[in-house]
């Protein structure tokens, strides 16, 4: 797996649980036990109430495409093999909007409001990155 050339996420102490969970094929969302907010991306402190009484909930792994953009050029060399890349913002029913790629999908088949589901890709031995793909009918 050491042939992974793309940048890996810069994992922070307060996001480590998220990236540990993706290795178990779970998508965690940070949750504030004081003000009941669902938080994405993970922070050290709740951005709503500044509490550090934070926990995690497991998301269902479903979402809908809020917007997308198919990138054909203008990327660094390490991303060129992946072109075209379908960039997407996906709304999760748990509240947060996240940034991801839609994979296992042709560029002409992606659309706004399309239902998608999480899919996990082993990047290196230590890092599993969540992507989304069209919900299989």
């Amino acid at each position: 797996m050491s042939d992974y050339l793309k940048p890996l996420p810069e994992i922070q102490p307060h996001s480590k649980a998220f990236w540990d969970a993706t290795k178990e094929h779970k998508f965690l969302i940070q949750h504030c036990k004081d003000c009941d907010s669902n938080i994405f991306y993970p922070r050290r402190d709740c951005p709503e109430c500044w509490s550090n009484n934070l926990d995690w909930i497991e998301a269902g792994g479903q979402g809908t495409v809020y917007s997308f953009s198919v990138t054909y050029e203008g990327v660094e060399e390490k991303f060129v093999a992946d072109l075209p890349i379908i960039l997407a913002w996906v709304d999760l029913p748990e509240g947060p909007r996240i940034n991801t790629n839609i994979i296992n999908c042709e560029p002409e088949d992606v659309s706004i409001d399309m239902p998608v589901e999480v899919v996990y890709v082993q990047a290196t031995d230590d890092v599993v990155i969540p992507y989304f793909q069209p919900v299989k009918r």
């Binding site: 953009s69 198919v70 054909y72 050029e73 790629n101």
Partner: protein
């Protein structure tokens, strides 16, 4: 009490690695001071926008080389401001504070940028990683163009703006740029077909709707309203409002910045005692075409979702009844990093002085200018006028 611009200078936006950062810098500093008609030793402070992706030049500017090299014996202090596209806005704010605090009569704000000697791979990396999140965006191949493509796609989805209407924005911006000797596109207008037939970079953005990174520089001399009354060519700041949204685009609730445009312009206009209908020109620095549309919606020039139609009808381009963005924005002029907003301020001064030649808006007395930094993290709206209030 507020500030006024009394001297300006600019070098043409081009790509030429033989024109060095320091050559640009020295030229614009000397020309702006001469344009103001003051002595170099009258400059009490040099406040510089951070030259993005150029760390050696940034260090020179941050640590005082500019007044030293130019022998500005009256200089009391220097500062550098880094807020991406709003760096120059922050320079004006620092200048205002020094002037109002009695520490400076005249402040010089110089910008220089050379990107043509930086490998394109490094520039893509800089513009992808500087404003974007290295954990939640960069690993997914998000670029600056991709990020703006995501916003533009949603804008078109919600408003029903067509690809032809969006391309018309670039046609008008390039039409302004074609009239501007300081634009990299001087004498080079494009047609709707040119835009729509150019390569797709990140849907829905075509290559001609994205930015050509280039070299440039400019400078302003600012002073107080009171002192400016002795300077015939002075242009007066009449109001300023600002709103922050988010660093990261996908976190943004006000995705098209309409609320931020509305609130920042409302504050600025109230200070100026003017309304949006008093503005003779609207200068919108957004660097991507959708901002030229959503800004007009936010200002209340048109209803939500109607901005693209105004551009498509030719009303915002040369000869239109709602002239906007007469320096062409980054897409119509070339992107000089933190220098685009400098070029916006300089063009606004030219319009109000009546020195904008073929781009001159008739009887231009009041101008609204909005700058934005990062991935449109903020909207900083300033009202300028030919006379003080």
């Amino acid at each position: 009490m507020s500030i006024a611009v009394i001297g300006i200078a600019e070098v043409p936006t081009i790509r030429d690695p033989d024109r060095t950062r320091w050559d640009i810098l020295l030229d614009v500093c000397m020309e702006a001071v001469r344009d103001a008609g003051i002595d170099k030793d009258d400059v009490h402070a040099v406040i510089s926008p951070n030259p993005m992706a150029q760390p050696a030049m940034a260090n020179d500017m941050a640590l005082g080389k500019v007044p030293e090299v130019l022998g500005m014996k009256g200089c009391r202090d220097i500062a550098i401001a880094n807020a991406g596209g709003t760096s120059n806005t922050n320079c004006l704010r620092i200048a205002k504070s020094l002037i109002e605090g009695g520490q400076a009569d005249f402040v010089l704000i110089p910008h220089t940028t050379v990107q043509s000697d930086i490998p394109s791979e490094d520039l893509i990396n800089f513009f992808a990683t500087a404003p974007l999140d290295k954990q939640w965006e960069y690993p997914y191949g998000v670029t600056f163009n991709g990020s703006m493509g995501l916003i533009t796609n949603r804008y078109m989805h919600e408003t029903g703006a067509t690809a032809e209407q969006m391309a018309a924005v670039t046609v008008s911006l390039r039409a302004w740029g074609a009239l501007d000797p300081n634009s990299i596109f001087y004498g080079k207008p494009v047609t709707l077909e040119d835009v729509l037939n150019s390569r797709i970079v990140s849907t829905p953005l075509h290559a001609k709707e994205c930015n050509l990174l280039a070299d440039g520089g400019g400078a302003m001399v600012v002073t107080s309203h009171e002192i400016a009354k002795n300077f015939e060519k002075a242009v007066y700041q009449l109001g300023h409002g600002t709103r922050f949204m988010s660093a990261t685009p996908f976190m943004r609730k006000d995705l098209f910045h309409r609320k931020a445009y509305r609130e920042s312009s409302t504050d600025a206009l109230a200070q100026a005692g003017l309304s949006i209908n008093d503005m003779d020109v609207r200068q919108i620095y957004g660097a991507y075409p959708y901002t030229q549309c959503s800004a007009l919606e936010g200002y209340g020039v048109c209803d939500e979702g109607q901005g693209a139609a105004l551009w498509a009808e030719g009303r915002c381009g040369p000869g239109g009844d709602l002239p906007c963005t007469t320096m062409g924005d980054a897409t119509g002029r070339g992107h000089t990093g933190s220098g685009v907003s400098m070029a916006f301020y300089l063009e606004t001064v030219r319009q109000l002085r009546g020195e904008a030649d073929d781009r001159q808006v008739p009887n231009c007395e009041h101008a609204l200018l909005t700058t934005s930094g990062g991935s449109v993290m903020n909207t900083c709206t300033t009202i300028f006028g030919r006379s003080p209030r």
